[in-house]
Symmetry: C3
Subunit: 348 residues, 3 copies
């Protein structure tokens, strides 16, 4: 309904704080970018470098930071964190469309499963024995929940999520389609040229307020558990191997892989397509640049990088060839040094 | 039936063009490689370097380019583009095995969905409210289609595809198992050491003649849409982030990731495992080598690369060590320059 | 039941060999790490460097190698391969919880499919025409098996696996959720600025004792088959393109991609996030370091690497800048050489 009737700027600052400059009675019914916002929408300026776009915006109001508050005359909400403010306003304007409670008739729910009365179980979902589904949970169509798994209150599984037996998901989580939680870790012991499977009998334990993107996989532990702490956000197509631990409020961008038993600290920011070898420790507050490979433990907060940027093909080949010739260049410098020494030693 | 009764070479050139040298009445019932083709099959030579294999082929006929037309005496179809010709012949010999129209009794189809009479809805598919399924569409077993999504005419969804609410797929598309279209983009605003979710309310809009490989994910836009233009071909396990735009007829090989808001031009060729940072622009006609990271906009067509090739381990370690010592090598060269200057300055 | 009643050390050595030092009547009911093992559990020492942790372990017994057999006084099983021994003991203690045979009432099984009487077909699985399911097979909930596919005896498909038409899976395989076997390879022929699809009419043929991790994809061949030989173990999120062949007993860690027609030998070990270009050959017994790109054939066994390790960001930028200046450094060395020559030529 909020989408239909709109919301007043005065109501926004009452709920979310910030200083309103302009008419509190202005009603907005949507949020959009500087260039796309229409006359019934609020927009936002999260970076002063886009300030010049503000005068041409058709928006009814704008969320901005104190240093930009004089850049426009339209009604504006001034806040030190316009991006977070925008997130809250957008959340208010776009409430999740929650299905009605109950199990769809086509879902297969084991009689021993405990399903909260207000939970939603979508069509063709399969809920195995002894699963516990908390209050307010939404399990989308075609989700497959293994025996004894537990889904914390208000967690939302989009269609087509697979949770293996015994895994525990916290509260208020969001799991996107194609996520697989709790598949076997890659544990193999070589014997006589073959590989013996090491049973993976740990679980995956996931904290509260975790979001996991489409087709991301988190493997169960070999003997102990794989752990994702509270507030972690994982993008799409990430691979978390067995016995990894991800610290609270760490965010990881898409296509990243973390090998077995590696421990990532809290409040880390991991760029896309980063790769971590196994059995290392990364302390709290570390940033890893996208595409970088982390091959040993990092005990000092800061930003770490190993990233080559694409260059025109011939230029790149030249750079590679030069690196390959470094050996001979070093040799030539050594010879020069010897000759200079000989010259210097010679009596004038 | 074509597979059973075979097709005459004369019919092929009538339908697909090219010049036939040899007997138009020769019948072929299959297509195969130079080495594997049997006496009822047609083969193809797409690269002159394999020309020497032609005499030993048992094939009944061959598709080849003008420069190779004298390399054999068997019936041959001469065309400037043997690879495209081969694609057409193979398509004729291997027509898709389309299931009979209708909804399988186990599918769950919302009463408000509009399903074309000749569409196919497979077993255990779930079609939510207000979905529009066009003429000739095939929706495979277990596909999960969210509310209001639209599937254009003659598009084929293999089993186990997930389409989120509101997304639009063009005509004649092919979507493979595990594809997820329209999951939330990775939009987060930091506040007090936590991450607030930014609702992802844009859609994914996909053009006509698009093919998307197994387990590839395309995220919905944050506020505006993510767009895949006509004729784009995406391989498996690709990640397309929110608000990306991929230009028409661009092909992207497997395991590539494209971060948010990046725009890729038309007719680009992106190698496998390439990675693109967000918010950049790549112009039309660019080729990116496999495994390369693109970290800034590219405004000039051409090939771009950042790729180190695996070398024997000790050799690689030596190269890395030399690069690490470049600093001291540079210093040694500087000292040599100073000494030479001193020598040169000295009166003879 | 074994889990409840426990097993005697004497029974372990009777079944699996090794030399027992200590009381054969000691009963263990679980297996755990050195630090986590309780007084009813057996632990293991697979690397002498953790030997110092042994005295503080509360375990009832330990599996270890001859060189470590005097490091403790508790009952111990001495074996040359403690890791493989541990795998066997753990397998005994954690037998798979096999569901009762039969097709779940919600599964959709084509009448022409041949299902072994003791096979298990889970809820909402879909088994198409002419599928053959061998003895002892377990097909998990929501698996989607295409027409004519064959699943060898005792193979286990976890929930949500997709097998395309005509593919063949060997015996005793393990396939995790989200695996897609047999989607179309990425075969396209350019014509007039567009891409024509080349029908992918080969199959995927998978040997015995193969395990494939969550969300891994193996594409069907273009004309001939894609082949995974016996005993191959693939981790999660791996992409195997069309017409690849993986030799027997090769293991591949997560996030690796192998482009089309590449042949990997037997007994190779491929690290995570490795990438292989297409149409190359890697001989038997090759190890590829994680994150390395293999761009040409490898005909000599050994370890191959191309991997840059993340460094503090400023340090990395400096290294990159130096490499970019190599051209001018080389030029400076050349000039020095000329000057030295001139000096040396000068009569003293």
């Amino acid at each position: 309904m909020i989408q239909n009737i709109g919301i007043k700027l005065g109501e926004l600052v009452r709920d979310f704080g910030g200083e309103l400059i302009g008419d509190a009675e202005v009603v907005i019914s949507g949020i959009s970018t500087l260039s796309a916002a229409g006359p019934n929408e609020i927009t936002f300026l999260t970076n002063s470098k886009y300030r010049s776009q503000l005068p041409s915006s058709r928006a009814a109001a704008v969320i901005l930071a104190p240093q930009d508050q004089d850049a426009t005359g339209i009604p504006r909400i001034v806040t030190r964190n316009p991006y977070a403010y925008m997130a809250k306003v957008s959340g208010l304007l776009h409430p999740l469309n929650r299905p009605s409670p109950g199990c769809h008739v086509s879902a297969v729910v084991d009689t021993t499963a405990q399903i909260a009365p207000d939970a939603v179980i979508g069509p063709h979902a399969v809920i195995a024995a002894h699963v516990v589904v908390g209050a307010g949970v939404v399990i989308g169509a075609g989700c497959l929940i293994g025996a004894g798994a537990e889904i914390g209150a208000d967690t939302w599984l989009y269609p087509g999520v697979s949770i293996y037996a015994g895994c525990q998901l916290g509260r208020r989580g969001i799991y996107h389609s194609g996520v697989v939680i709790g598949a076997d870790g890659f544990g193999l012991a070589p014997e006589d040229g073959r590989w013996l499977k090491i049973p993976q009998v740990g679980r995956v334990i996931i904290g509260d307020d975790v979001e996991i993107g489409a087709n991301t996989t988190v493997d169960r532990g070999a003997l102990e558990d794989t752990i994702i702490e509270d507030g972690v956000k994982l993008d799409n197509q990430i691979q978390i191997a067995h016995n990894v631990r991800i610290g609270a409020h760490t965010v990881i961008a898409a296509c990243t892989g973390i090998a077995g038993s590696t421990v990532i600290g809290k409040h880390c920011i991991i760029g896309g397509a980063a790769m971590f070898v196994g059995h290392i420790h990364v302390t709290d507050g570390v940033t890893i640049s996208g595409g970088s490979l982390v091959s040993k433990s990092i005990e000092t907060p800061g930003t770490y990088t190993a990233m080559w940027a694409a260059a025109p093909h011939r230029e790149w080949l030249k750079t590679v060839a030069q690196l390959r010739r470094l050996d001979s260049l070093t040799q030539r410098v050594r010879e020069l040094e010897e000759k200079i020494q000989a010259i210097e030693r010679k009596p004038a």
